[in-house]
């Protein structure tokens, strides 16, 4: 049915099979659509957010997907700026995952605003002192860069490339991709950092507050480092998932190994700095505010186990797995290492968003709890449905994996 759109060189499932595959993701999208409509039409009273939990599930999701989507800019940086050309075999997948994460996050932020139609006020009445202003500027610009990076791939579609101008435009874009890779890297460093800075600058919230280096709190640098450590791991996981569902080998092993090794090294460096930062916080910021480390971990379910889980279980252990050649060459351990690395970054973002707000600062204030409503889950989970749909449609209609034919001689003989 849709065969004119599919390249003649590759084998893809039937249109019916693809339709049935899409159904659950479409259902998830419909669930999200209803939730988003309710939130926009009825207001944010549809959520369980409150004056205590001003940020909640959506901001955790936003920060997490933006960090996980960092694989796009970092792979682009390694490919075009550092010159690791072998990564060209995975760069398309990385760009698509990045595009899904960023566009999903921006859409979710639009629903999270109390007055979404005023979103442009951030640009019009910009407050240059606010980390959130920097985040908004860089994310918007970077989404544009990601669209430009995605465009040549779309123009390589069988039907689109029949149009001469499209073909030429796509070809020319390919040639100047290094410029966009560099722009993307610059923008990404700033917004990943500013997302961390957003919490580090909260000097009246001792749980989140950190030392400042010039105008940047330490979380600025830690968020950049943790996103580039987890981003490549997430790209690996996405390509492995694609391999699982398509039952084909799509990315050469040496590329996966290289990304996993880089991910491991960055995670190890991040862990060293994270531990140093935590110690500086425990012995500097915390006593200065008249508190002890344990004061923060007596509230509700947020015990000291959070620190152990973040630093040891989802930090040091995946770093060891990814840095040990034998371990990362085993498919199961590689996936486990990448999964734990990604889980660690999600936990880190959760702690900075939710735990920061849950812990009262005034001694006579009480602890409040929060559980998201089905509408909040709907909007948040939609990004997964949207991601599966866009990635599988891209795989079906666009040349995402350049080595596909070469790696599957049994299918393409």
């Amino acid at each position: 049915m849709d065969s004119p759109l599919i390249s003649e060189d590759v084998k893809r499932c039937s249109a019916w099979k693809f339709f049935f595959w899409s159904l659950p993701w479409l259902a998830l999208l419909a669930y999200g659509g209803v939730s988003a409509f309710l939130c926009l039409f009825m207001g944010l009273n549809q959520t369980n957010m409150s004056n205590i939990f001003a940020f909640a599930l959506w901001i955790v999701f936003d920060l997490s997907v933006i960090a996980l989507g960092a694989g796009a800019f970092f792979t682009g940086f390694l490919t075009y700026i550092i010159g690791r050309t072998e990564l060209k075999d995975i760069i398309n997948a990385a760009v698509i995952v990045g595009f899904i994460c960023y566009s999903g996050a921006v859409a979710m932020l639009g629903i999270d605003l109390g007055q979404p139609l005023r979103a442009w006020f951030i640009f019009w009445h910009a407050n240059v002192h606010s980390m959130l202003t920097e985040v908004s500027f860089c994310i918007t610009a970077y989404l544009g860069v990601l669209t430009i990076e995605y465009l040549p791939l779309i123009l390589e579609n069988r039907k689109a490339s029949e149009v001469r101008d499209f073909r030429l435009f796509g070809h020319n874009l390919h040639h100047i991709m290094a410029v966009f890779a560099a722009t993307g890297t610059f923008l990404s460093f700033f917004h990943q950092g500013s997302l961390g800075g957003m919490f580090g600058v909260l000097f009246a919230r001792p749980f989140a507050s950190r030392w400042e280096f010039y105008i940047w709190p330490t979380t600025f640098f830690l968020f950049i480092l943790s996103s580039v450590a987890a981003g490549p791991s997430f790209t690996i996981l996405c390509s492995k998932l694609a391999e699982l569902f398509t039952r084909k080998k799509l990315v050469p092993d040496n590329v996966v190994q290289l990304l996993a090794k880089i991910s491991g090294w960055l995670l190890a460096v991040y862990m060293v700095l994270k531990i140093a930062d935590t110690l500086a916080w425990v012995y500097g910021i915390v006593p200065k505010a008249g508190l002890t480390f344990m004061d923060f971990y007596r509230q509700g379910p947020y015990g000291v186990w959070l620190v152990g889980a973040e630093i040891i279980v989802f930090g040091i252990i995946p770093a060891i797995i990814l840095l040990t050649p034998k371990a990362r060459q085993s498919s199961g351990l590689l996936i486990l290492g990448c999964l734990m690395n990604c889980a660690g970054i999600v936990l880190n973002r959760f702690i900075f968003v939710v735990v920061t707000l849950a812990i009262p600062v005034m001694p006579f204030d009480r602890f409040w709890s929060y559980l998201p409503t089905w509408q909040e889950w709907g909007v948040a989970l939609t990004i997964i449905g949207y991601g599966f749909l866009l990635f599988s449609a891209s795989y079906r209609y666009l040349p995402v994996f350049p080595k596909e034919k070469e790696l599957n001689p049994a299918i393409y003989s």
Partner: protein
């Protein structure tokens, strides 16, 4: 880092906790004066809007040694690196260093709620629902009780105590009409201070040595909420009870005594 300017006036408040009986009149007066939105069911305190909120504290001792005190908490109008002002991405909240008042521009607020995350006093409130009096068929006549001096807020924006800024505007207009350049101390008083039956709340210009507030803050009974964070609140409290003063901030073991000694 934002520059702190030295302004001519610096309005502030002193609340005498020894006088406060916890009656809540300040809360009611504030809500009524400022057209604060109400809902039929206000049991969800996490979403109620109370520009002035009363916190009840106890010394934690069993009967007969139990003591109770109350913390009326308006916006602190933090003077140093105002946490909410520095984080607002759309410049929807500002500190006017000429009066010291931290304002909220409702029509510019995008509802991102970053300011709420930045404020440790929970002094900022989000409009989770449409405000009353906005949609006439549903307002059930409540709009007739609205004050014409204060704009109502729409859904999806943050609001907070303004030190009854409109009263300052009225006082200034009156002074101007009478050919005066300055307003008198008693001409500008927020609704909570005016309504307090025990006169626990005093309001005035902290820069003016003749104003009562600037004398009261020199009292050894004076302290501020979470003073050690360095936000420089312009709301001061008075209490003769050391357990109340201790409850206003976080202290490491034995630190409270050292801090109090250093202050006296």
């Amino acid at each position: 880092m934002m520059k702190e300017e030295k302004g001519k006036y610096k309005y502030g408040m002193v609340i005498d906790l020894d006088k406060c009986s916890g009656c809540g009149t300040c809360m009611v007066a504030c809500a009524s004066e400022n057209n604060v939105s109400v809902r039929a069911d206000e049991s969800d305190k996490e979403r109620s809007i109370t520009w002035m909120q009363l916190f009840k504290i106890t010394n934690g001792k069993p009967f007969p040694d139990t003591e109770v005190s109350y913390f009326p908490r308006p916006c602190m109008h933090c003077h140093h690196h105002t946490p909410c002002v520095s984080v607002c991405p759309a410049t929807a909240t500002r500190i006017d260093y000429n009066t010291g008042i931290v304002s909220q521009i409702y029509t510019r607020c995008i509802g991102c709620r970053y300011c709420q995350a930045a404020c440790p006093y929970h002094a900022r409130y989000f409009n989770w629902w449409d405000g009353y009096g906005l949609a006439k068929p549903f307002s059930k006549g409540l709009e007739r009780a609205l004050s014409p001096e204060v704009s109502v807020r729409m859904r999806g924006v943050v609001e907070k105590c303004s030190f009854c800024h409109h009263r300052l505007m009225s006082a200034k207009s009156k002074a101007y009409a009478e050919g005066r350049r300055e307003i008198r101390e008693d001409e500008y008083i927020p609704a909570c201070a005016e309504a307090c039956p025990t006169q626990a709340i005093t309001f005035g210009d902290l820069n003016n040595p003749r104003h009562k507030v600037s004398q009261l803050i020199k009292s050894p009974r004076a302290f501020r909420l979470l003073e050690r964070l360095g936000t420089e609140p312009k709301v001061y409290y008075l209490s003769s009870k050391s357990w109340v003063r201790k409850m206003a901030d976080n202290y490491l073991p034995n630190q409270f005594q050292q801090v109090t000694k250093a202050m006296t």
